[in-house]
Symmetry: C2
Subunit: 255 residues, 2 copies
Amino acid sequence: MTPEQARKAFRDGTVSPTSGWAPGYTQANLIAVPRDWAYDLLLFAQRNRQPCPILDVTDPGVTSTPLAPDADLRTDLPSYRVWENGELVCELRDATRLWRSDLVAFLLGCSFTFEHALAAAGIPLRHVQQGRNVSMYITDRDCRPAGRMRGPLVVSMRPIPADMVELASRISSRMPDVHGAPVHVGDPGGLGIKDLSTPDFGDAVEAEPGDVPVYWACGVTPQAALMTSCPPFAITHSPGHMFITDVPDETYRIA
Amino acid sequence: MTPEQARKAFRDGTVSPTSGWAPGYTQANLIAVPRDWAYDLLLFAQRNRQPCPILDVTDPGVTSTPLAPDADLRTDLPSYRVWENGELVCELRDATRLWRSDLVAFLLGCSFTFEHALAAAGIPLRHVQQGRNVSMYITDRDCRPAGRMRGPLVVSMRPIPADMVELASRISSRMPDVHGAPVHVGDPGGLGIKDLSTPDFGDAVEAEPGDVPVYWACGVTPQAALMTSCPPFAITHSPGHMFITDVPDETYRIA
């Protein structure tokens, strides 16, 4: 399946998480905010590049992107969330009716990209083996604020065999536009996480004997910042229901 | 000499290009624009990351940066340029009197950082051997515009022995925050450069037999964009007279 075929399926009404769709092509987080908030979000993303790596930012009202020139950002994701004053007000399949002419769309890198690279190197992904979503946690680290945007760092956690942690770190460090190197390894208390079995987002994932928890900055961080910062209006993708671009994953890997 | 000692010398009145000062510490380009233009410049930098890699952006009126917490951006560079409507109006040693409370300061990565890494790998730097400034050229490639900001890509060129071009590419590609991999190798016509012996900025540099010209995106690009885009007011560093940060070069190298 090509990215174009995947986007057409979503445009035609298919609702599905995008993990495994159009493999080898970069998927992106979407956050669209009014122009009045765009500087704050752009600066927030710049100051917190590990959780918020920017792949593209549109001009106000523009609903296309060089990342996939034929795509329409209002219709080509499988599911959208609409936010008012930091609260989720609805989820829908087509955002055309609610898209505003002053919206600036941010497309941010997604860890699906480095997961492909980890798997290709033989590193087991426990959440995939267990058919679950990755575990995500709100940490006690604050992102560096920017204007009205502020919020905590959110991390995803993957249990990795101890003798593969260095390899996983090195592979992901060479993909800085999709969260880059881990932010922490080992003791969850180092990030203020009380209990790995009760993640704040996603599913609990079981570690195998000899696994070590490895934590990466997570693309849910900007959604957590929306909830904390309460812009009057925003449209995002629904978690796991990403925008599929035409850009090969390899583009974001440093040789 | 530490970065702090270098900055004190400049604050006390020393005017000197900063090449070779506080070796091993990252130097940065400075561009400060009014808040009204900051979104356009931030988006321009984001859309043109190779020539404009952002290391930090201040809040309006703030004259310090986490890159060097004790520094004052108005006094601690050896020389400043003041711009009005895209024209250079003066050069001065201390920008305190002209600094405005609405100025947002951008600190951008500088190729001095990857030059240290090239030299450490045994790659000869002809301009250094010849005691000259690096050659810089305005290309026929336009940067991707952002709001009112637009301008051509400017590149620096270094003659590199043919059998070391791959090594130079790989080393610099692992430093994406200081311009990253070359944008072009070989024929200057591929970038619309008519004559390598007449650079638009810096000095002509002589190639040795067997050298190939290698072109990197250059931090002069945003100054060229100032000249093209004509914001009402801006303060920048003088070419070669950079801001010396407390951040080790290694911070920007991907292992």
